[in-house]
């Protein structure tokens, strides 16, 4: 899983560098259209993902203590945070698409939509992994001496969080 996580991080690094260097050749355009983004939703989604990560940490601690149902409940709480993130992101996307904005509108929106949609898909994958881990926990697949699956799912979720921690300031704020 760590190899997979590093591969994902490298892909995002290429995306981030591409955005930053593309911006350096179109500073005025990127600064102008960055103002159209909803920073309130971006910041709220950062807090939501950070809180989801805290819940995942608490799930790992619970299974280490042998508290299987508590572990499952923290994972369900993290899934709730993931759902909230997706809901806010859909509201944000709907607003942009409603204004007729698309990948071909300009290079800023091309990067904004690509980057955030790529991350959106990773949140969905992270939620699928957490849901599978929660279901397996419910079935009694993990205990205080066997919880590698919980740690693996947790690591993927934290990777999704880490990427957003870079993405939000880079795309929504830095100018």
């Amino acid at each position: 899983m760590w190899i997979f996580i590093l591969a994902e991080l490298l892909v995002f690094a290429i995306f981030f560098a591409s955005y930053a260097f593309a911006r350096s050749y179109n500073v005025e355009l990127f600064n102008e259209y960055q103002q159209t983004l909803n920073r309130d939703i971006g910041a709220a989604n950062t807090v939501i993902l950070i809180t989801g990560s805290l819940f995942v940490v608490l799930a790992v601690r619970a299974i280490r203590d042998g508290k299987v149902m508590l572990c499952r409940n923290w994972l369900l709480a993290a899934l709730g945070m993931g759902s909230l993130f997706l809901t806010l992101k859909i509201i944000e996307f709907a607003d942009k698409f409603g204004q007729g904005i698309s990948l071909s509108t300009n290079s800023f929106y091309m990067f904004y939509l690509s980057l955030t949609f790529f991350h959106f898909m990773h949140v969905i994958l992270g939620m699928v992994i957490l849901a599978a881990v929660a279901w397996k926990a419910q079935q009694g697949a993990y205990c205080m001496i066997n919880y590698t699956g919980v740690e693996t799912g947790a690591s993927y979720w934290h990777m999704v969080d880490l990427v957003w921690i870079v993405l939000f300031p880079l795309v929504y704020v830095i100018r």
Binding site: R23, N31, A43, T46, I50
Partner: protein, 82 residues
Amino acid sequence: MRVYLVWLLLVMLTLLTWWAGKAGFSGEGLVAALLASIFIKGHFVIADFMVLRDVAFLWRVLVHGWLILVSCLIFLAYWVGM
């Protein structure tokens, strides 16, 4: 207890980032401050949330290296664009 303090620090740095955007700050100072904020947040997520304290030194170097690489590339790109 430490994990709750880390969460609080991450939330506070996020609110500062949001405020900097709302206030309309721009320029080298903002870029440097936000990159520092990204590095601090990223470090704590890697060290305290990803439980990398327990894994091999190489993995910690690689993930922290990713964070440093991304921060340097962003800074370089903004420097080029100035």
